[in-house]
Amino acid sequence: MIAIIDSGIANLRSVQKGFEKVGVPSRVIKEPRLLRDAAAIVLPGVGAFADGIATLETTGFIDPLRQEIESGKPILGICLGLHFLFSESEEFGLHKGLDLLRGRVRRFPDTVPSSDFGLRSSPLKVPHMGWNRVQQRRAAPIMHGIPDGSYFYFVHSYYVEPVEEGVIAGITEYGLPFTSMIWRDNLFATQFHPEKSQALGLQILANFGRLAHG
């Protein structure tokens, strides 16, 4: 069974439906003690960073989650769930994250240099919303069978900037190249939403299910 952490207002239904569609048993959990029996953990998230971290804290998820990650259990962070794993976020002031990965969560700039030798700048629409390509840096197991450069669905205004380049598994271009996928040992995280990315997104959920259940 895969445990999907209920971190407040996130739309957990779609993640669970995704697992159902690919035949992987999953359950939305509100109690941290249930993490222990799970074969793998999904940390989803929409909304604001500070609220999300605060909710994880008050519901008592942070320490048990840390323990399970250290024990080697597969974990998949999605969108804000990716941001939570990092040291700190610039979203509405500076806030501390779980610090499992070193680095900062930053906002996209409102303008980026134009193609004319960077002499002028052109506006960048934020949030980054829609389908964009993920260039795979390394062959992460959750991307098994997925062609390099495939499109996935994004909706976010902030992106992660890892200190250690070695954790980067996917890169996407939006005004600037940013990290769209992380892989370190048992830790996976995507900036995009697999549960909203049609067939290829479901393939990621199926791959993650296989990691969990062998």
Binding site: I9, R13, V46, G47, P123, P127, G130, W131, S157, K196
Partner: protein
């Protein structure tokens, strides 16, 4: 590169997909969940559900429709129509909507946009704007309580403007639609769904001037809506209207063209799309 989006729109009335011309003369186009599933399979980039009637049971129907669709479609879903307060928004998000669009309630109570954006995030707050061409002297800026004709700074070389309508196009507001788009974004809307009432259902093409005017003025994505009749119109929405997404109903519902055919055409003309 971020792909331009193709979004089939499902106008829902009494639990059925319908399509009209200039907001009236409705034709039946099927069961919402079935129609949504077909578009999901065809590779539509997102889906929009709009409840176009004001029946008392409207909300119950929409929540049922959203739930049924979320069961079967794995693509982002925007829901709108009759959303009045934070509780409505929360209920729709919990039922499986990824984004909720506000129209009438946002005009009547602009602080709802800010409150909803703070609570649920700008990324799921879509501001739906129904706009109709009018003489420039007819509209005023939404931020001022003054008399009409104070929009000189915005469209200096044209004599017309676009008036904002609410209640599904039935009530005029006297407000300048472009200024309202700017204000809505300042309040926290993460996207603009911009419908030309003059073009809706006519298949004469989008109001490109309106689309470009809004797209150039706001820092969030703009969905062009109203008037798509051919693939050429979709192309124009991106190339001339500078839209981030193009919404269409009739051409897809009545199977005149499929989503993959439309995308293949767009790619052939240099528009970045996801095939």
């Amino acid at each position: 590169m971020l792909a331009r989006r193709i979004i089939p729109c499902l106008d829902v009335k009494d639990g059925r997909v319908v399509k009209g011309t200039r907001f009236v003369d409705l034709r039946d186009a099927g069961d919402p969940a079935e129609v949504a599933e077909r578009y999901d399979r065809e590779g539509a980039d997102e889906l929009v559900f709009l409840d176009i009637t004001a029946s008392a049971e409207r909300r119950k129907i929409m929540i049922g429709v959203v739930e049924k669709t979320a069961e079967r479609a794995f693509t982002p879903l925007t829901v709108g129509g009759g959303v009045r307060d934070l509780a409505d928004i929360r209920a729709l998000l919990l039922a499986g909507a990824d984004k909720v669009s506000l129209n009438t309630a946002a005009v009547q109570n602009p602080s709802l946009i800010r409150e909803a954006a703070e609570r649920f995030g700008s990324q799921c707050m879509v501001l739906a704007i129904d706009a109709k061409r009018c003489p420039k002297s007819k509209v005023r800026s939404p931020q001022s309580d003054g008399e009409p004709t104070n929009v000189e700074s915005q469209t200096s070389d044209v004599e017309h403007a676009w008036e904002l309508y609410i209640h599904g196009g039935r009530t005029s507001t006297g407000l300048d639609a472009i200024r309202w788009a700017e204000r809505g974004v300042a309040l926290g809307s993460g996207e603009i769904l911009l419908t030309s009432m003059d073009r809706d259902g006519t298949r004469d093409g989008y109001d490109l001037e309106l689309t470009a005017a809004v797209a150039e003025r706001v820092g969030v994505p703009v969905i062009a809506s109203g008037g798509a009749g051919t693939v050429e119109h979709l192309f124009e929405a991106f190339a001339v209207g500078k839209a981030d997404a193009a919404l269409a109903a009739s051409i897809f519902h009545f199977r005149e063209i499929s989503v993959p055919e439309a995308k293949a055409y767009l790619r052939g003309r240099g528009i970045p799309v996801r095939l």
